[in-house]
Symmetry: C2
């Protein structure tokens, strides 16, 4: 396999991508929208590209990173909450009873999120998140989560930016969970991260301005919420969108089906050896309707096993 340095030396901005239809669809699209005089030329200001995060830019199995964070936080906070020993879904977390936890469903997860993501200031939460990313390790790869981004997608983000694109993360995950690491991992500044959020309230506390995180959902940036979030935060339609699951279907429709040149791309997890293989039958990143829609709408489907000669930078 070519190393990163070799790829860069050869002048290929996407060295971790094997030659093939997926890679060609990307480079052809970028050429069409950036070449002066091209019929499909798009001015730099309108070159907006949106990326889903979990499963598109980094690992989402065996569970979403933010879920691992929430479970770790329950364990860390348990001494302050003796009542959790007898209260579901906290009891299940503390006993490692994943079956009972799964059975608690979305309501159970929401309870865990509110108990671990609210009740502090935004600055305090940011510090908790930063600390977790330093100490937590992925159960299979035994590495910090920030090392588990996909090298081909990191190259793609940089390639698009080098061609005048503004790159955004548009995730179902929490906006304040991603922002502390988005610049370092993806080169995406906090103001280009869109995600789900809980409500906050402004308060002056002892003469100091604070935003307090409240246990109340503000916005769910998933499925039909993705175009809503994109429109609210960016105010213009992307010309390229990248996802990996049914949660990205509406973002891909919004981006590609309104007329005009566009690129829709889905990362298909097909590599159980180097990463994971899953699509229609998984609780984390189900790809079913969006895979059918990809065929109909001519979206690029990336086969991780065949299209990527490297998955992680450390491999």
């Amino acid at each position: 396999l070519p190393s990163r340095a070799q790829g860069a030396a050869s002048g290929d901005p996407l060295p971790s991508w094997n030659g093939g239809a997926a890679k060609r669809s990307i480079t052809n699209f970028v050429d069409r929208v950036t070449r002066e005089g091209s019929a499909d030329f798009v001015p730099a200001a309108a070159r907006i590209a949106t990326f889903d995060n979990d499963g598109t830019l980094w690992v989402e199995h065996p569970v979403y990173a933010q879920m691992a964070f929430a479970l770790d936080r329950v364990k860390a906070l348990a001494p302050l909450h003796p009542e959790w020993k007898d209260k579901q879904p906290f009891k299940a977390v503390l006993e490692g009873d994943m079956k009972t936890l799964a059975a608690s469903g979305e309501h159970g997860m929401a309870e865990l999120v509110m108990a671990t993501h609210a009740g502090m200031t935004t600055e305090e939460f940011e510090k908790i998140v930063r600390d977790w990313f330093v100490t937590a390790r992925h159960p299979r790869f035994k590495r910090p989560y920030i090392e588990l981004s996909y090298q081909p997608m990191i190259e793609l983000l940089a390639y698009l930016r080098a061609n005048g694109f503004k790159t955004y993360i548009v995730s179902g995950g929490g906006i304040e969970f991603m922002r502390p690491i988005s610049e370092r991992v993806y080169g995406v500044p906090p103001e280009q991260v869109i995600g789900s959020s809980i409500k906050t309230r402004f308060e002056m506390r002892d003469g100091r301005p604070e935003l307090l995180r409240l246990p109340e959902v503000n916005f769910i940036n998933d499925k039909g919420g993705k175009p809503v979030g994109i429109n609210e935060f960016i105010g213009r339609r992307p010309i390229a969108a990248f996802g990996n699951s049914d949660g990205d279907l509406e973002m891909l429709q919004w981006t590609t089906l309104a007329g005009g040149v566009s690129l829709g791309l889905i990362v298909h997890h097909t590599d159980a050896v180097r990463e994971y293989a899953y699509d229609r039958d998984t609780s984390f990143g189900r790809l079913d309707k969006a895979l059918d829609a990809a065929a109909i709408n001519k979206w690029t489907v990336v086969d991780m096993k065949d299209d990527w000669n490297r998955v992680f930078a450390f491999q």
Copy 2:
């Protein structure tokens, strides 16, 4: 008075500002945060500046531009709504009965906004707004609203950007009312406009993706909502904030009272000849608590009459 061209020729980036404490507070601040080796140096990525819109960047009297828009829309839509002839607050609008309209209060205004800002797609609304800005005229100045931005503030926006700042509009007004004209008037792209909003819903209609505007408040970006909106959209704290009313108090606190170098500035309307004079006693842009806070917190207060040698570009 020096003309714009003379000012530019002299190398002064703020030619419409008279020399004095207000102008010095701006240029001193910019020098401190941009000069390499300065103890207060701020990296370019963290140079975030937020600007209120109505009364800070353009005229808000005799009524907010968006209120004039809503009233014009009621009149335009009246033939489709014969029931409005007998229904308040619509009846008051159609009869020009401003006293009854004022008495309908916030509830009445909300009804007018929902009747005129919802029920269409985001693309349709954008076209309505663009058309209105072409045809509508300010009742006193007899000019399109987009010509009623303050020339000194336009210079200030450009001066900050030339010094590496990212400039944002943070308005209590509707985000989709400002975005169609923000680039043209202020050089601020849509993704750097933060404002109040109503909810939208994604729909596929005859194979085309649409966002439908719903008659339901999503977010009010005013008072304590301004720091909330800034944190949600930008994810970092501004180092400079510009406002003109009590609606900006919390944004100024959030920006200036957390430690670190910062600039807070309030535009005080003191010029009834060239524009308007008002502060503690007005329904549009009341400046009362924030004026008291300015003295305590050493925020710059701009005296429009004394500090600006020109208000509008056409003067």
